[in-house]
Symmetry: C3
């Protein structure tokens, strides 16, 4: 790749280390307050002139390798002796300080197209709020409603009578089929499909006959949905994603699933039809849930787990046939011991036979001792 | 989400309970035949004035909680004593009755655009049947053929020399690459990709060299394909999906796979290159099949199973290394017993040692009894 | 599907068998050198007049069933006695011969649109190299750079300040968000999303607050990416895919992941945040890697494996909790023995009890022998 420039030199802003410490609510613990800082990056990616950070003690050892000119460090974290970074800023709350630093150095957001792009295709009886942006080649069918300050990206499809709330952002190429509803302050990443038909058939004779899927999808306020995730419309009523829930990429949510509020659903999870999640449920990546079960509030499902029955509120489960985390851990440890166990049992069997034979013969000395087991 | 209206009040139709019973081929078993019904929903989603249903006895207990005004119930299913729904309609075939009820109350389908939308880009030598609809911003390349009554959704891409049959529906944003073929009465949901190159490389020196993929994808009649599923073109010849097969969302079908007729392939399954499925095969969600194997007619693969060898016709297999369902179940039950088994063997080993030592010493009383095992 | 023509009759070329043998660098080992060959297909898909091939001895038995008129066969592979194919061409290097044969019979590639299609929407300050093709309904935002001879497919989205190199091909519907960078000679299949926000939140009170993701995605030269795969932008710096790496369909690569050069990442894999892959790493289909781990150069991860810790260079691991391949195989074999082991231990326990009781009673004959174990 010819001509790749520095990635991290972001928006041209330069701030003196002393001013930066103040802006981040921290203290300049070491270094020259006049040194200019012009960007932010991870410990491994940062270069000279840039700020980096140690988020917790687990990653502190990497600070010895960084080429950054300045580090933000939480007050209680010790840095490795090899760390030679010239400027240290100690802060009370690392995440808050990072948020501020990110805002300082972030490249400007790409400006949304103003108004309706001339190449966008907007149908009849469409109701647009104030300050709506509709990008190039977007298609908005008849009777769609869009709320104030909402951005409809390039090549988005909004089907017949769909509704999108205010301050929402649909990225390029999102497809929302007819009648589905999206709330306020929602972010939907490229390639997401809402409202595909639920997967339902009945075998009639030798053919699978489609069960009509006349319901919709409802995405409540403050939800975020990652790239290429799909959420199917309900057979009746609505497949629902509760307020504040965050969904990662390539997740499959089937018809009539009910997801509660503030859940975290990580990449490539699948949730089968009519399953219900309470609030604050967390699903690890690539987990799969069968249909018609209920996952209680604040339950946690481990990555790659298969869940085949209800999970009570607050429980943490994992495993191919998910069970409480302790049991699953016990089973995994036991499984590692199995090859040795087989050998132990074989030796034990031999010993018992010898003992039995000796007993029968009236001679009671076993041939050799073996105290494994 | 301000102003969310009732979801289920669907198309404004109102039908008296007596007329409804007759229309559904059932009998008014309880309630006032003049009560007006104006929509249909699931037991938990239904509200006053609406119809709901009990599909089988497994879900009958939920009928005690519903707020629906009327229920369709199969003749042989008993309702819970707490069920206070005013109107009951008994029917001989619940699925047939539901189909009719759905048709009565379903909201009208969004009307397809008429003809070729002015923003659609249609190439040269394209052959369109009668009554074809091509949506806004669709792209149809040169030499494409499209059959009668077929709907090409907004933003669909039909590559060079691809062929689509009659009475087929391609939803918004479907991408079909050059030369691929889609049959009659096919439904393809948004974001599906047909005809991406198969994943094949040979290592030449230190580089992976691409193996050309000059084949196509053939989708036979009456197939349905779910959102964001991908089916790769063959190296030579065709990757083929047989007539009447139904495929769910986010499924990956690799090059040269041959899927038979009337199969069911559930969400997030993956089928590696050149594997063959017979007819009426069922794959549970998130299953993975390696390449170059054969799954016999009517075989069933459990959800999340990994299949690494042929499956005979009619077999039901499951598990991480899929095996016949009974063996897999036996293995799972055995695995749960493993931690206890380890303890048992340890105790047994101790006992045998005591016995052996006692025997050697000429004293034969073991120190304590332990009859676990 | 009415009127389906032969799939394999590809570009109308006919070549005499003798000329074909010469063109492929092989020898006509059997058959009439004047027989005309007009296409190429797999052993099962080939018909009369077509060429097929036996790639290795594992598949040689299928040659007895083929209807092809000619076969390419490596010098050392024996054909089954039932093989009646009239023409045999023996070649020293089967893959090289196949490449040449494919090139001879391949249907012509669809011609890319010339220049910028009038329906494409190209922003301000866009820099286009020579001979760039931009397809219908593509959207190119402001300040984008595109290198020479690059093809931007229909309905592609290139976000603000994104950069695409030379001789690169973006298929229909690819979405690349702002500032992301794609190298030279890259191929990206339909529906791929680059630069969706990384999945990162902090719980503030009762709400998940979004962590800004201000980094980008960098795709280096000679990479290929399969349909509907998603690669998220970094929190800071770049999520990076190294030169020559090949990625299959529906793969999920999270923020800040660093993939080395010449890796192979098979369908539906998932790689969680900040994980690093060395060079020449191979991931089998549907594998999952947790975040913040390192997979060494040339390591191999089996299909459907879950990787929860570092993998050293050159190691081959597999299993639900991935471990070295031999251990995993040993564990799988042991697991199959578990039901029998449980029975063995039960029998052994009984025998030991009898022995102990007999010993206590002074009678030493066990009731029966059992030498399993």
């Amino acid at each position: 790749m010819a001509g790749e420039k520095r990635l991290n030199k972001t928006n041209g802003v330069e701030i003196a280390a002393g001013d930066l410490a103040e802006a981040l609510g921290g203290v300049l613990a070491k270094g020259d307050s006049a040194v200019n800082i012009s960007g932010i990056a991870g410990l491994r990616g940062a270069g000279p002139g840039e700020l980096s950070f140690v988020s917790d003690k687990k990653h502190a050892h990497i600070a010895a390798e960084t080429r950054a000119s300045a580090l933000i460090v939480p007050q209680h974290v010790h840095l490795p002796t090899g760390c030679t970074t010239p400027v240290l800023i100690r802060v009370p709350h690392i995440e808050a300080a990072l948020d501020r630093a990110t805002a300082l150095f972030a490249p400007p957001e790409p400006p949304p197209a103003e108004g309706v792009h001339p190449s966008a295709q907007v149908g009849r009886h469409v109701v647009l709020g104030e300050n709506v942006s509709i990008g190039p080649c977007a298609v908005v069918e008849d009777h769609v409603h869009i709320g104030d300050n909402t951005t409809i990206g390039a090549q988005v499809f909004l089907g017949y009578r769909s509704i999108v709330g205010s301050n929402t952002r649909l990225c390029a190429g999102v497809k929302i089929r007819h009648r589905c509803r999206v709330g306020d302050r929602v972010v939907i990443h490229p390639g997401v499909v809402l409202g595909g038909d639920g997967f339902g058939y009945t075998l009639q004779g030798r053919e699978h006959k489609k069960i009509p899927q006349i319901g919709i999808v409802v995405i409540e306020d403050d939800v975020e949905i990652g790239s290429n995730t799909t959420i199917d419309r309900a057979r009746f009523g609505a497949t629902r994603i509760g307020r504040g829930t965050k969904i990662d990429n390539l997740v499959m949510i089937a018809h009539n699933v009910q997801v509660g509020q503030h859940c975290i659903i990580t990449g490539q999870c699948g949730i089968a039809g009519s399953t219900e999640l309470g609030d604050y449920v967390m699903l690890g990546a690539q987990a799969g849930l069968i249909g018609h079960i209920r996952i209680g509030d604040k339950a946690m499902v481990g990555a790659r787990s298969g869940v085949a029955k209800d999970v009570p509120p607050g429980a943490a489960v994992m495993g191919a046939l998910a069970e409480p985390r302790q049991n699953a851990a016990r089973s995994m440890i036991a499984a590692k011991k199995l090859p040795n166990l087989i050998r132990t049992v074989r030796a034990l069997g031999k010993k018992v036979n010898q003992l039995a034979q000796a007993a029968e013969a009236g001679s009671l000395k076993p041939h050799k001792k073996d105290d494994r087991g």
